[in-house]
């Protein structure tokens, strides 16, 4: 089955938990590499662009973490997917 190796998310979150907390929680899910950019700051919220990279990303778990930390996933803007053969070649 094809594996998701990178996703770019548009997320709105309250100021707390911090960007660091959110990034750590996502990275801990599966030893992912997480890059967060703050695009906009409002009085109570901030808009983020989150890039998650890994060998096989569990998107449901990512959605759960985002929801549990009070954030909202607005859209999935980019996805990198690797097919089984391509993965085998890379390995």
């Amino acid at each position: 089955m094809a594996a998701v190796t990178r996703i770019l998310l548009d997320v709105l979150k309250p100021h707390e938990p911090s960007v660091l907390d959110l990034a750590r929680a996502l990275a801990d899910l599966g030893d992912y590499r997480v890059c967060v950019r703050v695009l906009e700051m409002d009085k109570k919220t901030e808009s983020l662009e989150i890039e998650v990279a890994g060998s096989d990303i569990d998107f449901d778990a990512i959605q759960t973490v985002i929801r549990d930390l009070g954030a909202a996933l607005h859209s999935v803007d980019e996805v990198d997917v690797c097919g089984h053969n391509a993965r085998a070649q890379m390995e």
Binding site: L12, P17, K44, D68, G70, A72
Partner: protein, 193 residues
């Protein structure tokens, strides 16, 4: 350990550490000053049995504890609910399954426990010499005076704690709260003379 980490996280996201600290000092100070007043009242009147003093102090301590728990829980719960509703409005979605809703549920309980236990525990520490004396354990001072001394030391230590929080001189801060206690003692002595 996990529970403590979780609680620490909820305190952080709800910006409640300062509130818990404030409640501890404010109500702890209330408890210490109340005990100081009650015990001083007994010192300045005719001698009464130690059991009466203990009963009066214990009654006041329990009332302070219950009052602290109930008032803090009700007011904090209302404040947390309001903050959660405002955040939900800003996020344009329900946050009921998020850490913020958990904080709105648990932080009022924690704050209430701190607010209630601070005066209760401090009062019990102040009453301790009275219990020891009534149990026949010899004290270097008379029981009521020993309890007064414990009250003054605790009030001084609360000031020291405040000084540590503010990063000010510990002595200065401790002496400030001690001065408040001494003014209270002066007022009681003046009015009961």
């Amino acid at each position: 350990m996990k529970l403590l980490r979780e609680l620490g996280f909820l305190l952080r996201i709800s910006h409640s550490r300062g509130i818990v600290r404030r409640y501890f000092v404010v109500n702890g100070f209330d408890g210490a000053l109340t005990m100081l007043g009650v015990i001083l009242g007994f010192v300045t009147t005719d001698r009464v049995p130690l059991s009466v003093v203990i009963g009066a102090c214990l009654g006041a301590a329990i009332a302070l504890g219950v009052s602290g728990v109930s008032s803090a829980y009700l007011s904090e719960k209302a404040e947390r609910q309001r903050a959660l509703s405002e955040l939900e409005e800003a996020m344009a979605r329900s946050l009921q399954s998020s850490a913020h809703a958990q904080a709105a549920r648990w932080i009022p309980l924690l704050v209430a426990l701190v607010n209630g236990s601070a005066p209760l525990l401090i009062s019990l520490m102040i009453i301790a010499p009275l219990w020891l004396a009534s149990a026949g354990i010899p004290l270097p001072l008379e029981a009521l005076h020993a309890a007064l001394l414990v009250a003054l030391v605790i009030i001084f230590l609360l000031g020291v704690f405040l000084g540590r929080v503010a990063g000010n001189s510990l002595w200065r801060s401790g002496l400030q709260t001690l001065l408040v206690a001494l003014v209270t003692v002066g007022l009681i002595l003046l009015l009961s003379a």
